[in-house]
């Protein structure tokens, strides 16, 4: 067998013990990798006592690579993390690019399971066979960039070359509920507050250096597939657009379709949107290209602001989601300020979607008099006030003043602000919706509603397929031509997007951007050539389906019910103007059809017989469904 490193690390921070367990190949075959491994291992650890607080020491944390991670292929650098989310209180996971996953496998490990809590700040040092829990006193309090630089500088002579760092910043240490964890200063595990879980464990970072090799079971076959894919990639306009402008290319394309939320989701048409589009980014802040391990797409961009109030050193450029949350959502036309807010989020370690969306929510509260300058430490949170947006971002990272209120996310802030603040929320399961408007594609509403980790466009392939960037000809639902601005057949579409998506971007793990041109035959052939297994489409769909039920079940186990699948009024209000004028998803119908197809009861929990059929009888027992 190929592809896997063959071991999983179990690190207990309370006892300080480290155990290396061999990867069971029958387990690998069944669950493929990534969250297929991670969610299952997590569930096994908590199923006897699931009543845990996300920030308590008994909340385990899983980090898993996939079988293709570490191979020099486009869109194959991804890896995953998972745990109970402090933002939502439900299952949370995140999918990351960069270099860490590859290096971890080269060191000999497919994943890491972290349990317990350290008494003092610590980090995990991995240099091939050497794995140690070390004191992080020297790094605690430093931001992400400082930590990364200091660790590499301190440890590279010991490891013979620079390792790669995955670390939290002050936001994680301060338990900001949407703190991220970041690899190599730019590749973020952004959503769901995973960084706060590390902070609660006094766990600062993982430094890894790996010099081993991961072999494919059939390297000749893999080379043949790579050759075949050259033409596929050359023909892909989506890949060309990513190469040219990165994800912000969507500002141009998405705004044509009314997909870009504006003024906290009150508009989807804005004359000034081009001020924050890819053209302005290129003219004003662009400073180079970057990529993830082994990927030629290079969609990561660098930014620099050389002078002015938003001056920032060269670093990661804002992604589309960040441009929208700190830009169009706040009516902010200043691209330099968006780059600066992104820089602050990267340094403190915070999710730019929740952070920007929470600030947009706060601006609406301010504009409507629910809060005043006396609440916001003198900051005038008006629409388009770039200085105020940047200042508040910094306050959130420090958890200082009004920033401390916003550091728990907009749903918690609305409870504290009171009045009609809840009307301005855009959250599902307390997670702020991403920057894709369901009024432009109705299936997004359902995708956000039933995503186990809360409103998320990456929780399945629905955004890719309904949005149009991906088509899977081998699966009828993923290649059908759906009527635009309609809720017809979106439940069926979502189910298929979840089943295939769990395989594609959670288990295997392909990138939802760089691997978009692959059809199912190509994706499965890659996994088979690497692992030596002989997966069929039915088999990977079964593994994907099982993982979806497991993630949903974990969220149910943590208390989610049908009421938590509701889409907020703000997203479900018809707009009078713009590309989506008059369009409104029929969420009740889609949810009803979805529950029926998924075999879920009226509480939004999968039935026992459905779970048992998927080999999840123990999940049914844990949910007391017997």
């Amino acid at each position: 067998m190929g592809g896997y490193a063959g071991q999983i690390l179990y690190v207990n921070l309370s006892s300080g013990t480290i155990e290396k367990k061999p990867l069971d190949m029958a387990f690998a075959r069944n669950h493929i990798g990534g969250l297929g491994f991670g969610a299952r291992i997590y569930f096994d650890l908590i199923k006897k006592n699931p009543d845990i607080d996300a920030l308590a020491k008994n909340n385990p944390f899983v980090l898993m690579t996939g079988p293709i991670t570490g191979f020099k292929l486009d869109g194959a650098a991804r890896w995953t993390i998972g745990t109970k989310s402090p933002l939502t209180g439900f299952w949370g996971d995140s999918n990351i690019g960069g270099f860490f996953g590859a290096r971890l496998k080269f060191a000999g490990y497919d994943g890491i399971v972290i349990t317990g809590k350290a008494e003092n700040p610590c980090y995990l040092f991995i240099n091939n066979d050497t794995v140690e829990i070390r004191d992080a006193g020297a790094y605690w309090g430093k931001d992400i960039y400082e930590t990364d630089r200091a660790m590499v500088s301190d440890l590279k002579s010991e490891t013979g070359r620079s390792g790669t760092v995955f670390c939290i910043g002050p936001a994680g240490e301060n338990l900001v509920k949407y703190a991220s964890i970041i690899n190599n200063k730019r590749h973020a595990a952004g959503r769901a507050g995973m960084g706060a879980v590390w902070g609660s464990k006094n766990f600062k970072a993982i430094y890894v250096n790996g010099t081993g090799k991961i072999e494919a079971a059939d390297p000749k076959k893999l080379d043949e597939i790579k050759e075949e894919l050259k033409e596929v990639y050359e023909e892909s306009i989506f890949i060309d657009a990513l190469r040219a402008s990165g994800t912000p290319a969507h500002i141009d394309v998405g705004s044509l379709a009314g997909d870009v939320p504006i003024k906290n989701w009150q508009m989807n048409e804005w004359e000034e949107i081009d001020d924050i589009g890819p053209g302005e980014i290129e003219d004003k802040i662009h400073a180079g290209n970057r990529t993830c391990y082994g990927c030629s797409v290079a969609c990561k961009k660098e930014a620099e602001v050389k002078e002015g109030p938003f001056k920032m050193e060269k670093g990661p450029s804002p992604e589309y989601e960040t441009v929208a949350t700190f830009g169009s959502m706040c009516l902010n036309t200043n691209i330099e300020s968006i780059a600066k807010a992104n820089d602050i989020c990267n340094r403190y370690g915070m999710d730019t979607i929740t952070c920007g969306a929470t600030i947009a929510f706060a601006i609406e509260c301010f504009e409507n008099g629910l809060i005043t300058e006396s609440d916001t430490d003198g900051i005038r949170l008006n629409w388009g006030n770039a200085e105020a947006i940047v200042a508040m971002t910094e306050k959130i990272g420090k958890k200082e003043g009004f920033g401390a209120i916003l550091a728990d996310g907009s749903a918690a802030a609305a409870e504290k602000i009171g009045g009609n603040a809840k009307e301005y929320l855009t959250t599902i399961k307390r997670m702020e919706a991403p920057m894709h408007d369901p009024r432009s594609a109705h299936g997004y509403a359902l995708a956000y509603a039933v995503s186990p980790r809360g409103a998320c466009h990456e929780a399945s392939l629905n955004f890719n397929v309904e949005g149009g960037s991906q088509m899977i000809p081998e699966i009828e639902e993923l290649s059908a031509d759906y009527e635009e601005f309609s809720s017809e057949e979106r439940a069926k579409l979502n189910v298929a997007c979840q089943d295939y998506g769990m395989f594609f971007s959670c288990c295997a793990i392909f990138c939802n951007l760089g691997a978009v041109p692959l059809n199912a035959t190509q994706a499965i052939s890659i996994v088979n050539a690497i692992t030596g297994f002989d997966y069929t489409l039915d088999e990977v769909l079964q593994a994907g389906r099982r993982l979806w039920y497991l993630k949903r079940g974990l969220t149910n186990l943590f208390g989610a019910r049908a009421k938590d699948d509701q889409v907020p009024e703000r997203l479900m209000t018809e707009l009078e103007n713009g590309p989506t004028a008059g369009s409104l998803p029929d969420i009740d119908r889609m949810l009803s059809e979805f529950y029926e197809i998924r075999g879920m009861n009226k509480d939004g929990i999968p039935r026992a017989d459905v779970l048992e059929k998927e080999g999840l009888g123990d999940l049914a027992s844990a949910l007391n469904l017997a």
């Binding site: 040219a244 705004s255 589009g277 890819p278 149009g468 991906q470 088509m471």
Partner: protein, 137 residues
């Protein structure tokens, strides 16, 4: 059979709209900055139109098969018609090859902000010029 009964009719309607865009300073100036020469090849009914942004003035040339274009765009007449209403999911159309674009993609994408205002113009253009039967949205 598509919405347009003949190549001549389609040229009259779409070519006329392109010429109206060429007269619109706000749009034309932005397109001229691109310096692109775009050849649109339509089918059902067949039509070729070149939009030349390489000079000082936007030049619309139907049936021009000779000029070397920097961008080649192919689609059916119905997809083109729907596009100018702003009703085509561009990403999906390109993925599914309902629209095929060849040329410098970054430069092509830069045209999108420039043509955005034209979506509002198209239905009005149809109404004002006696083509209301094609105003399908």
């Amino acid at each position: 059979m598509g919405l347009f009964e003949s190549s001549e009719k389609f040229e009259e309607v779409l070519g006329g709209f392109f010429r109206e865009l060429a007269e619109n300073k706000q749009i034309a100036d932005k397109l001229l900055k691109s310096k692109l020469i775009i050849r649109f090849s339509y089918t059902d009914p067949d039509l070729i139109i070149v939009v030349d942004c390489s000079g000082d003035k936007l030049d619309v040339r139907p049936h021009d098969t000779e000029t070397k274009a920097t961008v080649e765009m192919s689609m059916t007449a119905d997809v083109a018609h729907k596009f100018w209403f702003g009703k085509v999911n561009l990403t999906k159309a390109l993925t599914r090859k309902e629209m095929v674009a060849k040329g410098p993609i970054p430069k092509i994408l830069k045209l999108l902000p420039a043509i955005k205002p034209s979506y509002a113009m198209y239905p009005k253009y149809l109404e004002d010029n006696g083509y209301s039967q094609y105003n399908i949205y």
